[in-house]
Symmetry: C2
Subunit: 340 residues, 2 copies
């Protein structure tokens, strides 16, 4: 397509469920295009209907396969499913990921499923903001359940998984101690624990381990309406997915119908507000810093001065009169028209 379609026009198309418009809006959100902000603001105010599931786990825990199997299951319930993968290892490129059982291409070709990978590098600190914007775009587009898949390593990724109505943490048997240790940091964020690969003989030990860790941590739980379940599944045999979808349904009721659900929504709103503000701030600063940073970096390299003094110098220069007003409403000139 050669015409640059204004974002406001894309909003109306996305609201009718048109997938190309949804994709282009997500690209604009991801790139942090100032032109798209008015549209994203409109979208936010019109969204808020979908059930957002954050799903996280360490590499090798079988997250993507599980997301595919869960999506297939939700489709049989007639739900439209959006998947936002914040995970450089996600294999959403079309190949077979479950052998003969479910082919990724079945999902890719299903108009009731939308799969999108977010670029995790170079997002100028705006990964969380862009991801949550993508969720709203899908919400507006009529997707009932939106799964944010993140790799559970790295601060941003774990925070993004938390910024959902229902957080699912995936563990797997046999990953070894080094990997499982990461899990400790993810234990407390789970609303639902899933142990994948339960066709393996060593899965039971992982199930028992997690239940034990949960019992130890129970006293500190801040969720009176909810007992965190531990569900074993096998994406290969399909076992456990009934229990998992039931757990998700039950948690949806908690998320939308209880006081702790409201508190959670407020916490998500606060997270989003702060991430958006940080992103705008850092972006405004980065733009203003372009001219000043090289000379300051050279002084820093020579150790003529220290990072703190020079950073303050850079900040002062970036926020001197006038520069605060440069921030909005012009499309960066290096974005080619036909790309967006």
């Amino acid at each position: 397509m050669s015409r640059y379609v204004p974002s406001s026009e894309l909003v109306e198309r996305a609201a009718r469920g048109e997938v190309p418009a949804i994709g282009r809006l997500i690209s604009r959100a991801e790139a942090g295009m100032p032109e798209a902000r008015g549209a994203l603001a409109t979208i936010y105010r019109r969204a808020g209907r979908a059930h957002v599931i954050g799903l996280t786990g360490v590499p090798g825990s079988g997250k993507s396969t599980l997301v595919a199997a869960l999506t297939a299951r939700l489709r049989t319930q007639g739900l439209k499913v959006g998947i936002v993968a914040v995970d450089p290892s996600s294999p959403y490129s079309g190949g077979a990921i479950l052998g003969d059982r479910i082919r990724m291409s079945d999902l890719v070709n299903d108009p009731g499923v939308y799969i999108r990978s977010m670029a995790t590098r170079g997002a100028m600190g705006g990964l969380a903001r862009a991801t949550l914007d993508a969720v709203d775009i899908l919400d507006l587009g009529g997707f009932d359940t939106i799964i944010i898949e993140t790799v559970g390593v790295g601060q941003d990724e774990v925070e993004i998984a938390k910024a959902s109505h229902t957080t699912v943490v995936v563990s797997a048997p046999g990953l070894g101690d080094e990997i499982q240790a990461i899990k400790a940091g993810m234990l407390e964020i789970a609303d639902i624990h899933v142990v994948s690969k339960c066709d393996r003989s060593d899965a039971n030990r992982t199930l028992v381990d997690i239940k034990q860790m949960l019992t130890l941590g129970a006293a500190t739980s801040a969720k009176p309406e909810w007992q965190t379940p531990v569900v074993g599944v096998s994406s290969y045999t399909g076992d456990g997915f009934d229990a998992l979808t039931r757990a998700i349904d039950r948690h949806r009721d908690v998320a939308f119908g209880t006081a702790s659900g409201s508190r959670r929504q407020l916490a998500i709103a606060r997270f989003r507000l702060e991430k958006t503000a940080e992103n705008l701030l850092v972006e405004r600063f980065a733009r203003a810093a372009v001219t000043r940073a090289p000379a300051l970096a050279e002084r820093l390299r020579r150790r003529d001065a220290d990072p703190y003094s020079l950073a303050n110098e850079l900040l002062a220069a970036s926020f001197e009169r006038g520069s605060a007003h440069e921030r909005d409403h012009h499309r960066p000139p290096h974005f080619a028209e036909d790309h967006w």
Copy 2:
């Protein structure tokens, strides 16, 4: 200890190599204590002697074991080694990590080795800043080689690994496609590739794969003075560590003695300048936002307004006259004296 020791005093102790002072300064840097900034500024200007090695790889690649084995080797050359682990899965808690060969406790009890894990969560965006401050503190303390170990997943972690003189990327055989896929994003940042676990029979395939990927990418290389080597090691048998330490020595000469080394140091300085500025900015904003954010988040939760308008409102409130001057030179009251 019950007396609060001023950071400036700790600097002099750290410069004499006193480990408790080094540890306390790193804690203060990690917490972003404003009182410590003058000291960190001094330290930066006095540091710059150590060889900084960034070592990264996906979970399960055997990074920590490799770091331990490499450290033992560097010790035999008489070098003092600092290890800064930005990796929630690092097993630096004292147990045996190499069976009978090298015990972590041997390193822990060696005064020529200092091991420190950085908190990767809740660092208020200051992880890179704090990590590089920690490196300077160790540099001032007389450590010759400083290894920053990061898990190669997540934008921050990969960037931190890049912010070193020599970046080592660790791969391992048998991790499966999902994990290896992450590696693609780390391929271009390596100055030295290491394949660990080369006692395994499938290691050769991993070596060949990486060499092949490097050949494909060779045309885009921006390092005329350097051919990226691929070194196979076994932390278990000790094989390959001679080649690895030789490669590290050779790259050190490039880092400190060539034009591309100078450009790299300038890029590191720029990264550091921008990370420090971002951190100061976000921190100043977060402090100012405390009073305003709750009410704005509530409006956001009700979708009465959108994240962008409210974020701009929050920024305007945070940076209105006066608030920019609150940022410095008072210790946060909730830090207990004897903790620091």
